[in-house]
Symmetry: D2
């Protein structure tokens, strides 16, 4: 069943495999009249480009974006926006040696069970390369958010036990700190520690998990729908659809378990502008599935990357036990959470834009 799309009013459909000719995304439902250029999208992709530094894997993805439709004289027309990125540097031979292995933590087994066929080259459709399309579409969504004065930032919150402190009250300041860190962590001291730890892990031929936090604000109140289309439900779906995601939290998240109602209840008050706010924000910015107007705060836990250099035991496709070592030419990410930062930000932008547009239809 059709499943490669996300969103209802502002909908993206992505396509493409890691080692096919190209990957791409079609944005259907983008409002007309938005100024847009390839450069802006290219800029967003810079964030995820693996070669930026040693903390992410080394595929030389130049990822040149082309917009093939939906623009006229620099503005969106309401027609679908087709964005394409031709694949380069896709050396499929690398994957010959592992093509008959059920690599632990990889999707080859489940794709084969489901479809009876699997494009093993770079994990095919299961590759995280698909997320480049999310980032490209997210760039368009962010332009719409900016038009509505909504800002958002994702950053690396934690790896192992190293957890960053961050002042999230000013997103633009927070962004400056995030951009300075090679691991996208705004807490300078912790950023240093994370880098050290990642270097160690890389030496060990291993990988490590992490948490990405996303902050959105100022978000207007009223975004999100009750019950099944609640803002947090759609954010959770968006985030858990990112490869390697294992957990999702809103506001207090799992900490809510050890809190009492009298602590957790965010009491209402007025700010100096007489706007209604909450004194605390344990809820994370929603009540009843609808935004309160407070910053929206979510966290996503990512597992350690499954591709590691260390020798591993598993089965081949004939069910024979094997021990294997990944070829040196295969790329590894010591911490996928770093690469996921831009994807979390993009998915957050997509959910909010869809919610903003839906919200235009709730009153007469």
């Amino acid at each position: 069943m059709a499943s490669n799309f996300f969103g209802d009013i502002f909908r993206i459909t992505t396509w493409g495999e890691s080692h096919g000719k190209a990957i791409g995304v079609v944005i259907d439902g983008c409002p007309a009249g938005l100024p847009l250029s390839e450069e802006e999208i290219q800029q967003e992709l810079f964030w995820r480009r693996p070669k930026r530094n040693q903390y992410v894997s080394s595929r030389n993805e130049s990822d040149k974006v082309e917009i093939l439709s939906g623009l006229f004289e620099g503005l969106t027309t309401g027609a679908p926006i087709s964005i394409i990125i031709f694949n380069q540097d896709a050396n499929s031979h690398t994957y010959e040696s592992t093509k008959n292995l059920l690599r632990p933590g990889h999707a080859s087994f489940t794709y084969l069970e489901k479809y009876g066929i699997f494009d093993y080259r770079g994990a095919g459709r299961a590759s995280a390369r698909e997320t480049a399309c999310r980032v490209a579409a997210g760039a368009v969504a962010k332009k719409i958010l900016r038009y509505h004065n909504i800002d958002l930032i994702a950053y690396l919150k934690q790896i192992e036990h190293i957890r960053a402190n961050a002042n999230i009250s000013e997103i633009s300041l927070l962004r400056q700190c995030v951009q300075k860190s090679p691991v996208l962590c705004p807490d300078i001291a912790k950023s240093e520690k994370m880098m050290e730890r990642i270097e160690e892990i890389t030496q060990e031929g291993d990988s490590v998990g992490g948490i990405v936090e996303l902050v959105i604000g100022p978000l207007p109140s009223g975004i999100g729908d009750p019950v099944y289309e609640s803002l947090e439900a759609n954010l959770a779906k968006a985030m858990m659809s990112i490869p390697a995601a294992q957990g999702f939290e809103l506001g207090s998240g799992f900490q809510a378990v050890i809190m009492k109602g009298s602590q957790h209840n965010d009491s209402f008050a007025t700010n100096p502008d007489q706007k209604i706010v909450t004194r605390t924000n344990f809820s994370g910015g929603t009540l009843g599935g609808i935004s309160t107007g407070m910053p929206l705060i979510v966290r996503v836990a990512f597992k350690p990357a499954s591709s590691i250099k260390k020798p591993q035991k598993t089965l081949d496709m004939d069910k024979n036990p094997v021990e294997f070592t990944m070829p040196d030419t295969m790329r590894c990410d010591p911490c996928v959470a770093i690469r996921a930062v831009s994807v979390v930000e993009a998915m957050g932008a997509l959910v909010i834009v869809d919610g903003l547009l839906k919200n235009k239809t709730v009153k007469l």
Copy 2:
């Protein structure tokens, strides 16, 4: 925009307010030929019935289920199944005293911001009473799962720092333990401690958070779709749409953050029947969004209930600061996670049935 439905092929649409005439659910897309009776659904609702014991709130909801359509001679016909529960014991006068308050943690504020109107009686559409419809629909979904020999169980995993141990390898045995516990916790010792703690919290006029764990198995491999409709994405949406949910985990969940790839990678092996399994199950039963055939394990964190007896400070609708105390006649749940157990189970069943039916369309 239409938002009160869940699922694509097996779709539920729910309606109704806490203090309206009735609540109900329409199940559209249920396969034909399934034996079904009102009694079976009634039985499932027993699980959530608040008056079962002192650990859940005391609304005398007899919740008598009626099936109005979709059955012929005891079998489903493929036509929509309309299930209705008339509201009884809905004393709206109780809510008169708080109708002008922005109760902390409640949705009155956000509904008013979104719609400009709010049915304050028992929280109207925002009431957890809507979840009775999910449980009723879940009962139908579970019958389909049983037909496919798929079993599932949810239970109370944790409140505050009290965390249960449970043997999840045999779901039928686990169910027996869960059903014996007034708080739906299969670990007898921890169940006792939980009860004690809930009694204390009730005395304090406060509430406490909790975690519900859901185990599904044996689940066939191949369920779930790549990318945006991954099994975990849909489970996350399902769970985060439950009132008071603050977090979602799959398998290792947030623990993945402190693990290395070499630990987390579930290596493949064969079981005595020569079926491919994984030695560990940190992934939680999916790879690439598709079920592996191992048990599916998810956890949902619930915040402490917002309705507490303790005095609270907030604003009224004219932005005046007020301190208020809930009337004694208003029902409170000291731990909503207990009530949520049956809802988590129902939502899990709905996601799996939809996935099973979708999966029939992926091969020629």
Copy 3:
């Protein structure tokens, strides 16, 4: 697969069988703040009530409408509106004698082929009784249209070779003429002829086809979407989903086949208010799938009813040839097109409301 719903933003889901306990509709996505009462919906159902005169069949359907949810203090709240009509006068014994027959023109055969089970009582889900739910939902849609100053009217245009002339430039005047005619035809002379013809057909124990025309206006320009969600595509789907519909036309319809481009092209001009209009309206009110602002004109052809009193030859379920005569207690409609008038009007209203709401999302 779920299929008992219509519309995207303003979505209806209907349920119920002809001889079940009740039928109903859930409206999901209705904007908040609309005044609504059971009486208004009841009034719309009056139009379709079969006992109004001898030209439609005689089921004594009192069709008492109840609104079970979605209203608070007389206004819609944005929550789903559940409308129920309990079935009365449903004498299932009438259908015992024909339950094993494959009645020509009926859905028993195809339902059995599809589902393996069929509720034969009054045709179950395949009964035109389902259309009462469309009319009820259409009543809500019409209120929204009135709020936007959009009017619409359907009427009986033709039976056999008797074709009405009607001045469609003033919908309110047209409505007065339609309401005066027992067969809902605004052309007095043709209405008389139609009645005579229907009486003859009834005497013969036979039935006759007809055409219903729908006029909507003044419709704002810009409603409808390019390509697959064009206004005419959605109108066609809406109309062809009505039982017994065999054809659909927009504007010139099949007459376009014998026209030249130089005739058919509606040239643009300005009206006295300097508004852009077209001199003619062969297109029927849309260009490129989007409304022009001219009246929207569609026609729907209905086959003669399959239930007739004349003896008919067919098979029973064991493939034996049989000749059968319908029992006298079974209701027949000599011309279903008359009953279809209110349904065409309702479906038209549903399409336009959905289009209006979608249109709010196309600009920044």
Copy 4:
């Protein structure tokens, strides 16, 4: 709102403008394991290629198809299939002279009203060029139908009063006749007359309407859903979404209006193989929205093309009356119905494949 997609399980999303860089389609939900090549799709596009003869317009569209994703070793993988056709021979200068005109019968006016912006070059997104993507996707759908032994053929049934007779009982024979005719009409004598008439019309600088008939069979019984997703409702939507479509008929169509029930009722009988059939097929192959197993027969009326060489009166965008003549370099189709033949066939294939896949989910 997202609107450039069609189908639920087997879903196409199209994008691209007439004079943009490229057009394309993403097929999401195609079952895995289907052999597929670019050549097969290229072959289908040959049918619509305008330069095939003088009866269709003269754009030199080489329309070279590329498949960018979704295939592995010649088989579909279940991943989205992205098909692209780069635009060539797109001389935008041609359109400069008419860019400020509200050309009669064109969508420039309605797009501007809706979006405030319009890509006037070759009608942009409103161009019939989009239909090449439907034909490409239809080629994939047809391969699936062939796998299920379902055949289909569309042909030119009528222009003006010239109506073809055709023996539709053997689709493969019918196809041979259709392919021999430059205007895709299987009736040799009428084909000749049509060609003569089109030459006359071309000389006049005018255009003419036409009817396309589609025949599908042998279609299994049970395809299509009751009520809103009836087979005819989805076919009607599919066909009326084709540019220039003004009418849709199923089986007897508008002729049903002058028939009696005793004539129109298709009585059931057994064929020599003891299969249940109907003696006649006025219903057109469905009952209650579900296929009967008899051939599916639909007809679509197309208006005469709006682009004609004759001088026309209209307004410019400043509301000034103007008389204009299309530049000689602009392409005209004397009868768009001929070009529409392949599109009707493609849309029919898409509806049936979606219905086939949906049908897999209706039984346990």
